[in-house]
């Protein structure tokens, strides 16, 4: 019994060593040179090989998927961070671009107006209940030689004048303020009048008074400072006519004007100090070229 068992073990051990040997031989042989034994071995090994390969592939698939997902998660985190960083940078660049554009406009305005000017940053805005700006505070004041009455200009047009100054700060009286009065001229026909703010809390609006009834004023006409009184230099765009009120009687008519300057979006302005009030002979945004000799159409 013991002999048979030993014999069986020996045969099995020999078979365990021989089978892979045959497998190897059959698998590595040139397919054109395989004999009948090799083909039998290949046929026998094929199902086993299929099972083993499927098992290996299944497990490696799971592992690969897991590793892939881990990588995807990591990549996702990295991309999310990168996205946030780039978005922030994009916002910063856009903001810088806008600031750059504003400063360029301001520089252009400065060149157009000539004279002595001071750039000022808007550091505060007082708003009405309807979120309309009623007063603006600048970071320039007495120490910067800013005085009450000095015109304040934005690239889009006239903002107003300095109301009061103290230290390094000053308040601006906007053109839409009820107490503001500016002598203006309508570019198209040279009609003159007095622009007063309406002081409305829900919209930015001025009104031109003392416009001669005979002057033909149209909606859309551009209104510029006339330069009379030497408070404001001539040819600074103030706004555009949005409505004309002509009564059936009287010598004058009125026109409603929407200011050109966007008070809600003001950030940087220019304060005209000396000399600028006499300037204004060049073309440009917010400045008219030939106010000295307006060409009325009438």
């Amino acid at each position: 019994m013991n002999f048979f068992r030993r014999f069986r073990d020996a045969v099995l051990v020999a078979a365990l060593l021989a089978v892979p040997f045959f497998f190897l031989n059959a698998n590595l042989k040139d397919p054109a040179k395989t004999n009948a034994v090799d083909r039998v071995v290949l046929q026998m090994s094929a199902p086993l090989q299929w099972v083993a390969t499927q098992a290996a592939r299944g497990v490696s698939g799971v592992i690969e998927e897991y590793v892939y997902l881990v990588d995807v998660g990591r990549e996702n985190d990295r991309l999310r961070y990168e996205n946030a960083r780039l978005s922030q940078e994009n916002r910063r660049l856009r903001s810088e671009g806008q600031e750059n554009r504003r400063l360029r406009d301001l520089l252009q305005l400065r060149e157009q107006l000539g004279g002595e000017q001071i750039s000022a940053q808007v550091i505060g805005k007082e708003v009405s209940a309807n979120f309309r700006v009623v007063r603006v505070r600048l970071d320039r004041g007495e120490r910067d030689r800013v005085k009450p009455g000095m015109p304040v200009v934005a690239p889009e047009g006239l903002v107003g004048q300095i109301r009061r100054t103290w230290g390094r700060y000053s308040d601006v009286l906007l053109t839409v303020d009820r107490t503001s009065a500016i002598d203006v001229v309508i570019e198209r026909n040279g009609a003159r009048g007095m622009l007063r703010g309406t002081g409305e809390s829900d919209r930015y609006l001025c009104r031109i008074q003392y416009l001669l009834r005979a002057d033909e004023v149209r909606v859309g006409d551009e209104v510029f400072t006339s330069g009379l009184g030497h408070r404001f230099p001539a040819n600074i765009l103030v706004g555009r006519v949005t409505n004309v009120v002509r009564r059936d009687f009287g010598l004058y008519q009125e026109a409603e004007v929407t200011p050109a300057a966007n008070f809600s979006g003001l950030e940087v302005v220019s304060v005209l100090t000396m000399g600028a009030r006499e300037a204004g002979t060049q073309d440009g945004a917010g400045v008219r070229g030939d106010l000295a000799a307006p060409q009325p159409e009438r």
């Binding site: 073990d9 089978v19 892979p20 040997f21 497998f23 090994s45």
Partner: protein, 183 residues
């Protein structure tokens, strides 16, 4: 039960080996974690020669599938390694990690030499380049070093796994170094 547990462990070791080598390129120091396991089976008192040979055969077959080697290459090498460990009666030298490392290194080098020899015999001349002596030595020694370094861990894992499986089946385990050597 024990056979299935051991095959499962071998499969797990293969997965770890394949995943680790896929994640980190350690060539030519790629270990063969099944080799220490087969050595352990060879010197274990509980594993009969036929059973051990069958386990080595299946593990070798799996290794061939995982590594993409020609079918039969590692199967033959693992069965031969099992027979070598079984026949040599090395249980006494497996008492400490240093001996385990030394033995695994020696067996790994022999197994590597066998693989090279089999490939030289069976593969077509164009498919197998012998390379320089330095390359050949590196091919033999580098994986053997890594395999030997990891051998104590594999031995521990197999022993623990076997003990767990034996406890479940209600028998007392007797791994290598815990009883008289095999001869």
């Amino acid at each position: 039960m024990q056979n299935a547990a051991l095959l499962l462990l071998g499969f797990a070791l293969l997965v770890v080996q394949a995943s680790a080598t896929a994640l980190v390129n350690v060539h030519p120091f790629s270990p063969n974690l099944l080799l220490p396991m087969v050595i352990y089976l060879g010197v274990s008192h509980d594993v009969g020669i036929v059973r051990g040979g069958m386990l080595a055969f299946v593990l070798g077959y799996l290794l061939d599938s995982f590594t993409g080697s020609p079918m039969g290459l590692h199967t033959f090498v693992l069965v031969a390694t099992y027979m070598l460990a079984r026949g040599a009666g090395l249980s006494l030298v497996l008492r400490g990690p240093l001996f385990q490392i030394g033995l695994t290194f020696a067996v790994s080098v022999i197994a590597g030499g066998t693989i090279l020899a089999l490939r030289a015999i069976f593969e077509r001349p164009a498919a197998f380049e012998a390379g320089t002596v330095g390359d050949t030595v590196l091919t033999l020694v580098a994986p053997a070093l890594t395999t030997a370094a990891l051998a104590p861990l594999v031995f521990f894992a197999v022993r623990s796994f076997e003990q767990l499986a034996t406890r479940r089946s209600g028998r007392a385990p007797s791994g290598p170094g815990e009883g008289p050597g095999l001869s």
